[in-house]
């Protein structure tokens, strides 16, 4: 059958052959040595998504973000000068963690232990009996971590010498800026812990090969006609980042209530100018562990934070422009959140099952087909950094 005529053209395998076609080693998905190298060469060296500027709307607004991969707690604060900064949530006096609250708004931050007090710019403002110390106040500021923003999304980098965020994002910076998330003022969030490697977890959301088997009911609208697997219509790569355009099913099978639930949110989206944006069918993935979806009725981000070789934490946020303004809008947002959560719930069962199989050591290699090219690209980008890191370690030794 002519696929173009019937509404779907599969990305030719030869267009993706540059990524390689060999089996991929299985150990990187469970080996603690590999995991430690990833932590150092990938997570401590790249821009990592930590939140959205709408969480810190005013001077003094702060959020605390605990990042297991860095063994760090960060205090992310909007200063009186309106700049957003990230600091280690650590008092430079003797290391006490400053803030226990997950979020809030304060004009200053006092360490409960000895009352060293810091401004929203991290500078030490006062410390009792400071004359008895043998150090200058200017050397006692909170330790800053690079934080930069693109499309409303905040990223940190633990490598003080890192290239700027926008350079690292390349051409995808502008795409992110044209997605609904860039205009978001609020969001819904759910989180989960999963007994699985971060790559195995993340990979689930990079391929559609599993849709018809794992989401036969919940994902029905994205499968059908000439595209029985719901494969993407295009794929793209930009440095370590990647994208795919989700296929638009010309004849989606929507249930009556489901259709109503979606339609109820449309007028407000149209009014806000959120329909017909250029990347509204796109999945946009930023290396290593974030992806963002441009779909106006369900604009979500998904970040998978590594905890251990076989344990991760997922954070899913559905981003909205403006507070709920009507009953219909509130209903549509609730339905959208609950719907994507249903789909993700089906995924995590299968991901943990995959981890148990891999951790057994039964396999030396796993396989990616051409429509799993995004998974292969992530592995390639991780592995080149890990191998370089291990080679440097070997040289040093």
């Amino acid at each position: 059958m002519d696929q173009a005529v019937s509404g779907f053209q599969r990305v030719p395998a030869e267009d993706l052959a540059w990524l390689g076609t060999d089996p991929v080693p299985a150990a990187p998905y469970y080996d603690p040595v590999y995991f430690e190298a990833e932590r150092q060469a990938v997570f401590l060296k790249n821009w990592i998504h930590v939140g959205h500027v709408c969480e810190v709307p005013e001077p003094g607004s702060f959020v605390r973000r605990d990042l297991e991969f860095a063994r760090a707690s960060l205090l992310i604060v909007r200063g009186r000068d309106s700049a957003v900064r990230a600091f280690h949530n650590v008092c430079p006096h003797r290391g006490t963690q400053l803030v226990e609250e997950a979020s809030g708004r304060q004009t200053k931050f006092s360490c409960p232990y000895h009352m060293w007090t810091f401004g929203t710019d991290g500078a030490l403002m006062s410390a009792p009996d400071f004359e008895a110390f043998h150090v200058d106040k200017k050397d006692c500021a909170l330790r800053e971590v690079l934080l930069q923003v693109c499309g409303g999304m905040m990223f940190v980098n633990f490598d003080a010498g890192a290239a700027p965020l926008r350079d690292w994002m390349g051409a995808y910076a502008e795409r992110l800026e044209q997605m609904p998330v860039a205009r978001a003022t609020t969001f819904a969030e759910y989180t989960y812990e999963i007994e699985a490697n971060w790559k195995l977890t993340y990979d689930n959301f990079q391929e559609n090969y599993h849709l018809r088997f794992i989401h036969p009911r919940s994902g029905g609208a994205g499968i059908g006609g000439a595209n029985q697997f719901g494969y993407p219509v295009s794929m793209g790569f930009e440095g370590p980042h990647r994208t795919q355009r989700i296929w638009s099913n010309p004849e989606p099978t929507l249930k009556p209530f489901q259709r109503t639930g979606a339609m109820r949110g449309i007028p407000a989206l149209a009014q806000a100018g959120l329909l017909g944006l250029p990347y509204e069918r796109d999945y946009l993935a930023f290396f290593p562990n974030l992806f963002v979806i441009g779909t106006p009725t369900q604009p979500f981000s998904h970040t998978v934070y590594p905890i251990a070789p076989d344990r991760s934490r997922g954070v899913v946020r559905v981003y909205w422009v403006g507070d709920d303004a009507s009953a219909s809008q509130r209903f549509a947002r609730e339905y959208s959140l609950a719907q994507i959560r249903d789909i993700h719930a089906e995924d995590i069962a299968m991901i943990e099952r995959g981890q148990r199989g891999l951790t057994s050591g039964a396999l030396s290699h796993i396989h990616f087909q051409s429509m799993e090219a995004l998974c292969r690209h992530l592995f390639n980008e991780v592995d080149s950094r890990v191998q370089a890191h291990l080679a440097r370690g070997a040289e040093t030794a």
């Binding site: 989960y192 009911r217 209530f257 089906e346």
Partner: protein
């Protein structure tokens, strides 16, 4: 509260038996109730309230969301509960029981609908 005031606006009085179980103030509570209910309870609620969704939202849209209280507020919460139950009945169907434990691991920590509910 007026003595004769119903749980819901008069036009929706037939849905009052579902208020106690399904009109909950927060998204996480509504999601949890879906999991904690029986298929019979979900189907009865969906059968009775599903066909009234458009009518209920039209009624509520004519009022300021921020000012909803009493029967109107309960009607809003009831429809939000219906969003979760509809997914269970209309979409998941026989898979609902199997997927519930996995879904419950996805902890809802924030929702735009929660802001005024606290």
């Amino acid at each position: 509260m007026m003595q004769n005031e119903g749980l819901l606006p008069p036009a929706f009085a037939t849905l009052e038996p579902f208020v106690e179980r399904w009109a909950l103030p927060r998204t996480a509570d509504r999601a949890a109730r879906r999991s904690a209910s029986t298929p019979e309870e979900r189907e009865a609620f969906f059968r009775a309230a599903g066909p009234r969704l458009d009518e209920a939202l039209d009624y509520l849209d004519a009022r300021a969301l921020r000012d909803l209280d009493g029967p109107d507020r309960r009607l809003m919460d009831l429809m939000l509960g219906l969003a979760h139950v509809a997914l269970a009945v209309e979409i998941q169907g026989p898979d609902e029981v199997k997927s519930a434990p996995w879904r419950d691991r996805m902890r809802i920590v924030r929702s735009s609908a929660d802001r005024e509910a606290a």
